[in-house]
């Protein structure tokens, strides 16, 4: 199947499930807690998952983010610097041809966006990207 980015976006939105968490003081520990809740404390290894995000957000209120991991049954996105880090979870059935999703997220400030994939064999994979949210400035 030849999926355009637009179709992937539409599909992604269709299977999007927003997660919410009760407020805790430190955002970083909020992210750790959310990841632990997903993995049950299992080891998470880097690689095997692609996370595409802009280096510098053109608009912090709507930052395009794309994830894909061949063999994933579930991919969750976390914005580590947001008051509520859990952004979205994409779930993939056994017949899903492409294990990828994209969405746009609001980022409160410069921070790391983290993607965790749960694989078919039960292992967990991780990727992260720093997205800078800037007040803008002066071009050369």
């Amino acid at each position: 199947m030849d999926l355009t980015r637009r179709k992937a976006l539409a599909l992604g939105t269709g299977t999007l499930a927003f997660a919410t968490l009760a407020g805790l003081p430190a955002f970083a520990s909020l992210t750790d807690d959310a990841i632990a809740a997903m993995t049950g404390g299992a080891e998470v290894t880097e690689g095997g998952i692609d996370l595409t995000a802009p280096e510098i957000a053109e608009n912090g209120n709507t930052v395009p983010v794309e994830v894909s991991a061949a063999g994933a049954v579930e991919i969750s996105l976390f914005a580590t610097g947001n008051p509520t880090p859990a952004v979205a979870t994409f779930k993939f059935g056994p017949l899903a041809g492409s294990r990828s999703g994209s969405t746009r997220i609001r980022l409160a400030k410069t921070q790391d966006v983290v993607a965790i994939a749960k694989m078919e064999d039960g292992s967990f994979r991780k990727a992260s990207a720093t997205v800078k949210v800037t007040i803008g400035g002066c071009g050369g």
Binding site: E55, E58, T134, G139
Partner: protein, 567 residues
């Protein structure tokens, strides 16, 4: 078997020698009359493909003076690496003698006295002569324009870029990429691009709504040159909606998008490209980083950061060519492409000494035609520089042009503190020279030139300085936007370039009282070139003109208000 990398390194050595023959032996030349056009254009045609690169012209149709920076700090892996080498260190690195034409063209030392001896640089009629000469030796040479072309002068502003479009069309480029062009507004950019007789390229120019490629700006174009199938991939300035007002072109999104760059390189190679050229407006350090990540690009023609390098920089198997700004240089790159691979190159950065290179009469006439309706306004003398006062802009922290602009903002807008954007365009003015209206517009003209006056808390001022400093000194080039530090008037500070964002800037001081800036106190701040929609105020060129007219003769106090640590 000799690898391609060996070939390229041999070429680098040859280029260095050739560069020396093009630059070093001018050391014995004492005055410009010993320089000749033949000497400047001397080039032993090599291989089978020629590229001609111009970039960041900023609408400078006529010859100008342009002082290169004395401060250009590299951070992280680029500390001490070109283009972050200036002055005597730069001349030593490239074997350039003090006082030579190359020293005048490429470094800042003795600028005003060398400028008196060697004269103005640039002028698109002279650039045309150089292009014609290269085309005489290699008729199917490709002329590639790296962008920042339709911005930067009085006539460009009044004609919304049409003067530059008319003159550049006469030079017959083969392709172009973009940055400041978009500040004309997307409607105007679309209108011009739809009528361009050459390719408008940008693999990273996307539709903002759908995050998809646009039809108006294709990623690449194929050319046949010297029997070689050449693919030119465009890379526009990645951070346009951040560094410039995104509300003026809301339909477009940019970014580095190096994954897509790799896809495009693979795609053109699969279609039979024997030579892959990236026409880039990334800025030099970003191009260096991208060259280490994306494989299969032979040549990056680099723009945006206005660096002029007498030799390409080799990253892996990619050569990166930097061709200066404001029409001051043309780069010629000859390439030997065999069996679908670039096996060697010869390169020359040609400085456009306007008194040495004969203008192309047709282009000279065309330039004068563009300017004719505006000559009265352009040529009006507003003031003069004092006998020991040069006005220049380039440098990481300040330049005398921006010192003057900040003085104008403080006095004309009755402010405590002035902010002036750290752009890198704008020609220089020599001591004892008339300052015309054209000169003022050359350093201020833009489509969002409102000079605002607002209240800022000390805390917010700190956030602003930290934010801009991180655009310049983030150790990862992909997080740098190019440009220089925001210029400040009425304010002093200390900066440690090695620190992370939030802790680089300390000791912020209000100069008029000597007091430390209080985070909770409010200050009157004047500035210009805000990226925010709805900014109000008089135009900056009117503010500067009023100030210069009142001063008559311009003489500035030395600016020692920024203390730099960690360079």
């Amino acid at each position: 078997m000799i690898s391609r990398r060996d070939f390229l390194q041999t070429s680098m050595a040859a280029a260095a020698l050739y560069g020396a023959s093009g630059f070093g032996n001018w050391a014995r030349v004492a005055a410009q009359q010993s320089l000749t056009q033949d000497k400047l254009l001397e080039f032993d045609t090599f291989g089978n493909v020629s590229l001609i690169h111009v970039t960041d012209i900023h609408a400078q149709l006529k010859p100008i003076y342009f002082r290169e920076p004395s401060v250009n700090i590299g951070v992280g892996g680029n500390k001490g690496a070109v283009p972050h080498v200036t002055g005597a260190d730069f001349r030593k690195l490239y074997g350039i003698d003090d006082g030579s034409p190359s020293a005048y063209a490429l470094s800042h030392s003795d600028f005003s006295s060398l400028a008196q001896a060697y004269g103005r640089v640039g002028g698109l009629d002279r650039v045309s002569t150089v292009i014609n000469s290269i085309r005489a030796a290699r008729p199917d040479a490709l002329l590639l324009d790296g962008g920042d072309t339709w911005h930067g002068s009085y006539t460009c502003h009044q004609t919304a870029g049409q003067d530059m479009v008319n003159v550049m069309n006469a030079l017959k480029p083969d392709a172009m990429t973009f940055h400041w062009e978009f500040t004309l507004g997307s409607e105007r950019v679309n209108e011009i691009v739809e009528g361009l007789p050459f390719a408008a390229l940008g693999q990273n120019i996307f539709d903002a709504e759908w995050d998809e490629p646009t039809e108006l700006f294709p990623p690449y174009k194929f050319f046949e040159s010297g029997g070689v199938k050449v693919a030119v991939i465009g890379q526009a300035f990645p951070y346009m909606p951040i560094a410039n007002p995104g509300w003026m072109f809301p339909e477009y999104s940019f970014g580095i998008r190096d994954e897509r760059m790799q896809e495009m390189v693979d795609e053109v190679r699969a279609q039979g490209a024997e030579l892959v050229v990236c026409l880039s407006h990334n800025g030099f350090d970003v191009d260096k980083q991208m060259a280490g990540i994306v494989t299969g690009i032979d040549v990056i023609l680099s723009g945006h950061t206005h660096d002029a390098l007498p030799e390409p920089v080799l990253v892996g198997e990619t050569i990166i060519v930097a061709s200066g700004s404001n029409g001051k240089f043309v780069s010629r790159v000859d390439l030997d492409v065999r069996n679908g691979r670039m096996m060697g190159f010869r390169h020359k950065l040609i400085p456009i000494f306007s008194d040495v290179i004969t203008p192309d009469p047709e282009v000279a006439q065309l330039i004068d035609d563009q300017r004719a309706p505006y000559m009265d306004a352009l040529s009006e003398v507003i003031g003069q520089t004092a006998d020991d006062q040069t006005l220049y802009r380039r440098g990481n922290f300040n330049g005398t042009w921006d010192d003057l602009i900040c003085d104008a903002l403080i006095s004309e807008r009755d402010a405590d503190i002035a902010l002036s954007p750290g752009v890198r365009w704008g020609p220089s003015i020599l001591p004892g020279q008339d300052i015309t209206r054209e000169d003022i517009w050359n350093v201020t003209s833009m489509s969002y030139g409102e000079a605002y006056r607002t209240e800022m808390t000390g805390e917010f001022l700190h956030v602003v300085l930290e934010d801009v400093a991180d655009n310049l000194f983030n150790p990862d080039p992909y997080y740098q936007q190019g440009g220089d530090m925001v210029r400040v008037g009425g304010l002093g500070y200390r900066i440690d370039v090695t620190k992370p964002q939030g802790s680089r800037i300390t000791e912020m001081t209000l100069l008029k009282t000597g007091e430390i800036i209080d985070p909770s106190k409010t200050y009157q701040v004047a500035g210009w070139a805000s990226v925010n929609e709805g900014t109000e105020g008089p135009k900056i060129w009117d503010v500067v003109e009023a100030h210069i007219a009142k001063q008559g003769t311009i003489s500035l106090d030395p600016n020692n208000s920024v203390k730099v640590v960690g360079a």
